[in-house]
């Protein structure tokens, strides 16, 4: 029967086309395998990494993976940990909670990892928690949501500055500038909503009043309506909380509206793409973040300065561009885990690893100096932050 034969043909075609990319790439990418320590007799320590290589957060997952790959290679060249090489097994969660759960399950059950770094986003990080708890292994997240450590779980650590750290620092700084009325604009996604909640909780302590609170969504193309409202409410400064590309739209909208009041942002805006997108409108924009952007902020005699400089140099050499903060968060997650491993006997358990990570004290990383504790799995203080300002198309330390 001809029709049936055509059906079969089509099915075959579908399968064939679905397989072609696999076959085609397996030969070209073969050199990318991770077994560097070929002459190592010892089993590698396996760490899982659930990163968003595709989907909405693909732009964040990429530098994170870059940093991890670079650092693992270096650690292994230096002889690994306790004589064991480190092996990272990467999973792409496609910025999707379900995929993150399945990936975690695969890492735990199929790969038998000792710890998991991830996920890139707060949503994925939270979704993984069930699997993490079932397996009882530690999770170190490079995602920034306050909820990650705010909704405390003994197994879950995080490396970025949380909003609960950055917000009070930023508000205090604004108050010091003699400003009393601010307008807030935040995205409706995880980072913005979280930031907004922390902002509203800390306004009174900083002696500030929010005269307008506006929201926008990822993908919005113009925020001048919200900004007009902020302007009309008599705000003396705009505080923006978002990590998306809409940040540069807000900056340019303000300039186009002729708004001269200062714009403050967050560590979510510490990306060159923001300056590129906002152009001249980015001038004078201020935000608080860790000291990685300008290592001199540490003071050039400190260990932190050396660590940061070293990372920046090697990353720039390897990837042709300076690392952003996300690369730094991944760096910290890996090194905190590896450091904890190095304090343990060779065949430690997951529970011991967790305890060792929690015992991290004064670890000098990229994001800051980490000291975890039984009820603090974020580990940083306001001392790790510094205020930046955009001048002549680049970051400088705000005076």
């Amino acid at each position: 029967m001809r029709a049936a034969r055509r059906t079969l043909l089509a099915l075959t075609l579908v399968i064939a086309l679905a397989v072609v990319p696999l076959a085609g790439c397996s030969s070209t990418d073969g050199g990318e395998s991770t077994d560097n320590g070929t002459d190592e007799a010892k089993e590698p320590y396996r760490i899982g990494a659930v990163l968003s290589m595709t989907g909405t957060y693909a732009g964040l997952g990429e530098p994170e993976k870059n940093a991890l790959e670079m650092e693992v290679a270096r650690i292994n060249e230096d002889g690994g940990v306790n004589g064991h090489p480190i092996e990272i097994i990467y999973e792409d969660d496609a910025t999707d909670a379900d995929t993150a759960v399945a990936a975690t399950s695969r890492l735990i059950d199929k790969e038998g990892v000792l710890a998991i770094i991830g996920a890139t986003g707060t949503g994925g990080t939270m979704a993984m928690r069930g699997e993490i708890n079932r397996a009882g292994i530690p999770q170190i997240s490079p995602a920034g949501g306050t909820v990650i450590t705010g909704d405390f779980d003994p197994l879950v650590f995080q490396t970025p500055w949380s909003n609960s750290l950055v917000v009070p620092y930023t508000l205090d700084y604004i108050a010091e500038q003699g400003i009393s009325k601010i307008g807030i604009i935040a995205d409706s996604g995880g980072f913005g909503a979280d930031g907004l909640a922390v902002l509203e909780a800390n306004l009174a302590d900083a002696g500030l009043e929010a005269v307008a609170t506006e929201a926008f969504n990822a993908g919005d193309t113009d925020m001048s309506a919200q900004l007009t409202k902020i302007q009309g409410a008599g705000a003396e400064a705009v505080v923006m909380w978002t990590a998306g590309k809409e940040a540069s739209i807000i900056a340019t909208n303000m300039k186009d509206l002729g708004m001269t009041i200062p714009l403050y942002g967050s560590h979510g805006n510490a990306r060159v793409e923001f300056i590129e997108g906002a152009g001249a409108a980015a001038e004078g924009f201020r935000f608080a973040a860790g000291k990685i952007l300008i290592p001199e902020a540490y003071g050039d005699t400190t260990e932190a300065y050396q660590v940061a400089l070293d990372f920046i140099d090697r990353y720039s050499a390897e990837y042709g561009k300076a690392p952003d903060t996300f690369a730094g968060h991944a760096y910290d997650a890996l090194h905190i885990t590896v450091n904890a491993m190095s304090t343990l006997d060779e065949d430690f358990t997951a529970a011991e690893l967790r305890d060792a990570i929690e015992a991290t004290t004064g670890f000098v990383g990229i994001g800051g100096t980490f000291t975890y504790g039984a009820d603090d799995h974020n580990g940083m203080t306001a001392d790790d932050l510094v205020m930046y300002e955009v001048k002549d198309g680049t970051w400088v330390l705000a005076e």
Binding site: D222, A225, T228
Partner: protein
């Protein structure tokens, strides 16, 4: 916590003066003109196939991405880079039609819609492979703003208004007065009848995809200087454009533009008088109410159903 925003604004609410109102209106029209451009793209493909092209948002993305590529990577001057970006987008539209739409011979609208859904995923993913995951910027065609009775509008937005205005006039002219335009419409209504009177419907469909892609590319080129672009911006453009096309009423370029502007104004007025948190929800609820009362959209005639 965010849900208290509405009350919060109410406390601080003050009367809106005229320049401010005008500014809100301009903000709405700015967004609205972008929605209108996307909606026009929907209209073109709909007019010749009866299909909503879910890949329309990706054409907008590609227009921006390819222009950025031509500008930054090839180092072409902006006008040339833009031209190349838009033409390449048009080419993508034509290739997409030839490879993925034309082989489905019966032209079943639902099947074609699902193909455009697949095409949308594919184009955005390919853009990520080619251009990477981060957002890209493009300089404005014209810097600065103009002052309109105390309200301010960036010159770049005038370009978007201009493109939308020219496009709607050209399309209306084409559909009403040229043989080509009439032919394009004819084949959505009845492919066989179109063939009988000497129109090659397949050619018309290819053309309409190319035209829609060019228009989408123009939209992407014109908006990228304001909004930046990234591989994943397509769907949000698509959804807004779809909403605008439906709000206006499918099939008529003027209705599409009016739908886009109305949607933009609804959103900015929601921000002005109700809450920016719920601006999308409010405009969607209004859209639904409009549909429940006028199932053919605000400005759509019901004449098509009778054909």
């Amino acid at each position: 916590m965010i849900s208290s925003t509405g009350l919060f604004q109410g406390r601080h609410g003050k009367t809106v003066d005229t320049p401010e109102l005008l500014q809100f209106a301009l903000a709405g029209l700015k967004n609205g003109s972008i929605y209108a451009l996307v909606a026009l793209g929907f209209t073109i493909v709909y007019a010749s196939t009866g299909v909503l092209n879910f890949a329309q948002g990706e054409f907008v993305m590609l227009g921006g991405m390819l222009s950025v590529w031509a500008y930054s990577t090839l180092g072409l001057p902006l006008p040339l880079a833009g031209l190349l970006g838009v033409l390449l987008t048009g080419l993508v539209g034509v290739i997409f039609e030839l490879l993925a739409i034309r082989p489905r011979k019966d032209g079943d609208p639902l099947a074609l819609i699902i193909i455009t859904v697949g095409g949308s995923m594919l184009l955005s993913s390919l853009a990520r492979h080619l251009f990477g995951p981060t957002e890209k910027a493009l300089p404005r065609f014209s810097e600065g703003s103009v002052n309109i009775f105390g309200a301010s509008l960036e010159r770049q937005s005038l370009w978007i208004f201009g493109i939308a205005a020219v496009a709607v006039v050209l399309l209306t002219f084409m559909y009403s007065y040229t043989r080509l335009g009439k032919a394009m419409r004819a084949c959505a209504i009845d492919r066989n009848a179109a063939r009988l009177v000497g129109i090659e419907p397949r050619m018309m469909v290819t053309l309409s995809f190319g035209l829609a892609a060019i228009l989408g590319g123009l939209a992407g080129l014109a908006t990228t200087p304001l909004t930046q672009t990234a591989f994943n911006v397509g769907p949000s453009f698509g959804v807004k454009g779809f909403a605008a096309a439906i709000l206006g009423g499918l099939g008529n370029p003027f209705a599409a533009v009016l739908g886009g502007l109305t949607l933009g104004l609804l959103e900015s007025m929601s921000v002005a008088f109700i809450s920016s948190t719920y601006k999308d929800a409010i405009s969607l609820i209004i859209l639904l109410l409009v549909l429940f009362v006028r199932p053919q959209g605000l400005f759509g005639g019901s004449s098509r159903q009778k054909v």
